[in-house]
Amino acid sequence: KKRFLDLLMTSDQYRKEQEVIKEGGEKAFNKKLLKWRMIGEGYSSQLSINEQRYVFRLAFRMWSEVMPLDFEEDNTSPISQIDIKLGFGRGRHLGCSQAFDGSGQEFAHAWFLGDIHFDDDEHFTAPSSDNGISLLKVAVHEIGHVLGLSHIYRTGSIMQPNYIPQESGFELDWSDRKAVQNLYGSCEGPFDTVFDWIRKERNQFGELVVRYNTYFFRDGWYWMYENRKNRTRYGDPISVSTGWSGIPTQNIDAFVHVWTWTKDASYFFRGTQFWHYDSENDRAYAEDTEGKTYPRLISEGFPGIPSPIDTAFFDRRTQYIYFFKGLQVYAYDVHRDRVVLNFPKRIVDVFPAVAANNHPKGNINAAYYSYTHSSLFLFKGKEFWKVANDKDRRQNPSLPYNGLLPKRKTSEQWFDICNVHSSLLKL
C-alpha cells in the first residue's frame, strides 16, 4: 500500500509538472511527446493484446495527425513517467474510484492528463469487425478527454457523450480538430517541397483528362492535401519511399514540372542530382525515352545552375525554371537549355516586397505554383508569401510584377499538416 501510495504521489506530482494552464482556464499538456502504456493487469478479456495495441496506436495516431503532439508507446520507463495508461476492468477495477456498471450504459471513462479505463463487460471489437462496440471510436473519444476536451453536443463530434455505432471510416472533423488545436495550437514547420502533381487519365468516355493532387514533403514523409476539404488525406503522412518510387527517401529539395506544348517532364531534385519522374507509371526513370540515365548531375542537365539548390519551380508564363539558392534566383530557359541572360539576380529584385520589410530575402524552403489558387507561393519556415498574380494586379494596379504580398502563416492556409511519431508511421 505504501509503495502504491508513493507511486500515486509521484505520479500526481509528475502529472502536475506536465500540465499548463491556458489563458481561458483550460488545461493542457505542456510537452510535445506523450508516453502511453497498456496496463498489464488490465488487458481486455475479449481482444488479443495485439488487437488492443493496434487500436490504441491508431487512436493516438488519429489525434496526432491533427495536432502538434506526438504519442509514443513506452513499456520500459518507470510507470510514474507514463503520461497515459490504458486498461480494461469490470465493476471495481484497477484501483479506480469510479466503478463500472456492467454491460450497457457506461463504456469507458478517462481523466484529464491521466488514464483511460474501458468497461470489460462491454463487447468491444476491433476495426475489422462490423459488430460490437468500436474500441477505436471509444478510445479516440477518451483520449480527447485526456487531452482536455469536454463532451460536445454536436452531430458528428467525436466528443459526444453518447456512443453512436461507428459508420465506416469515422474521422476527426473540422470542429473537433479546432477544439483540440485551441488547446495545443496548430501544426507548423518548414517543408522541403510543395507541388501539384499532374497526370493524364482517360475518363469513362475515353476522353483525356488532366488531374492533379497537391503534395507537401518534409524529411522522409509526405502528405497529400485535399484542397476541397481543407485537410490532408486521412491517414497521412506516408513515407516518401512508399509513395514515390525511385527518388531519394528524404529531404527532397524541389519538384519541377516542365509543361509546354512540346515538353512534359517532371523532375525531383536533391543535393547535386536530379531524377526524371515517370508520372504515367508513377516511378522515377532509371533510363528515360531519350536514353538518359538517372540520377543525373544538375550541372549536366541544367548547365549553369549551381547545386544543391534551395528550391525551384517552372513558370508557364515565361517557360523558365526558376532555381533558388541563397539570396539569388536563376532563370533557366528550357527551350534553349541555358541560363537566361542577366541571371542570377537577387530574389528581392525578381520578387519585390509589396510591404516594407516583409520579404523572405533568401534561403527559400519551397516554391509552389498552386492550380487551386492559380498563384505562386514562396515558403520559408512557418510562413509563406504569395506572389501577386494577374487577378491581384487587376484589382490593385499598384502591385509590382511578381510582387510578394505580406507573409502569412502556412497553417492558416493549409490546415492540419501534422507529423506523427516515427513509431506510428507504420501501424
Binding site: 500515486l8 500526481d12 482556464g25 488545461k27 469490470r90 465493476g91 479506480c96 474510484s97 469510479q98 466503478a99 463500472f100 456498471d101 456492467g102 454491460s103 450497457g104 450504459q105 457506461e106 463504456f107 469507458a108 471513462h109 478517462a110 481523466w111 484529464f112 491521466g114 463487460d121 462496440i133 471509444v138 473519444h141 477518451e142 478527454h145 469536454s150 463532451h151 460536445i152 453536443y153 454536436r154 452531430t155 463530434s157 457523450p161 453518447n162 456512443y163 465506416s168 471510416g169 474521422e171 473540422w174 470542429s175 479546432k178 488531374r211 492533379y212 493532387n213 497537391t214 485535399e226 484542397n227 476541397r228 481543407n230 488525406r233 486521412y234 491517414g235 492550380y371 487551386t372 489558387h373
Partner: protein, 150 residues
C-alpha cells in the same frame, strides 16, 4: 426469432455479465443527472484517486420526489431545471418532465465522464458545449481525386 441457434446454445443462455441498471423512474433519473453533472458540476478530476464519496445531496434526491412514478412530475425546481437542460442539449422537448424520450436518451450507452465538471484550478464549471452546426471555414475550389479510405 432466429431460425437457428449456435450449436452450444451460447446465444440463448443468459449472460453471466452484470447488466447495468437502467433509468426507469424519477429517482434513477435524478441519480443520472447528479452523476453526470446536470444538477451541479462534478469534481471529476478530484475523484480520480480517491474513494467514491457518497452523494452529498441525498436530500436533493428525496427533495421534491413524493412519488417516483413517472406520471408524477418532479416538484424540485433544481431537478426540473436539470431535466430541461438535459432535454435541450439532447434535442428533446424541454418539458421538465421525465417522459419516455428523456428516459431513452438517458439509457443510451455513453462515456462515464460527467458532462459538466468543476476543474481543479478553475472553480467555474466547465460546461458541456453545444456548438452551432455551421462553423466558418475557408472555401476553396479545386480539382482533385476523391479521397481514398484511410
Amino acid at each position: 426469432e432466429k431460425l437457428f441457434h449456435t450449436r452450444d446454445q451460447s446465444d440463448v443462455q443468459s449472460s453471466s455479465l452484470q447488466q447495468a441498471e437502467l433509468v426507469t423512474d424519477l429517482i434513477s433519473a435524478q441519480q443520472y443527472l447528479v452523476k453526470y453533472g446536470w444538477t451541479e458540476p462534478v469534481a471529476w478530476d478530484l475523484s480520480s484517486t480517491r474513494d467514491n464519496e457518497p452523494l452529498k445531496d441525498f436530500t436533493l434526491m428525496q427533495e421534491g420526489i413524493t412519488d417516483s412514478r413517472l406520471d408524477e412530475p418532479p416538484k424540485s425546481p433544481s431537478l426540473i431545471n436539470a431535466l430541461k437542460r438535459f432535454q435541450k442539449l439532447n434535442n428533446l422537448p424541454t418539458t421538465g418532465r421525465l417522459d419516455d424520450a428523456t428516459i431513452n436518451a438517458m439509457n443510451k450507452p455513453r462515456c462515464g465522464v460527467p458532462d459538466n465538471q468543476i476543474t481543479k484550478t478553475n472553480p467555474e464549471k466547465q460546461e458541456t458545449e453545444k456548438l452551432s452546426e455551421n462553423k466558418t471555414r475557408p472555401l476553396n475550389n479545386s480539382s482533385s481525386d476523391p479521397p481514398k479510405i484511410r
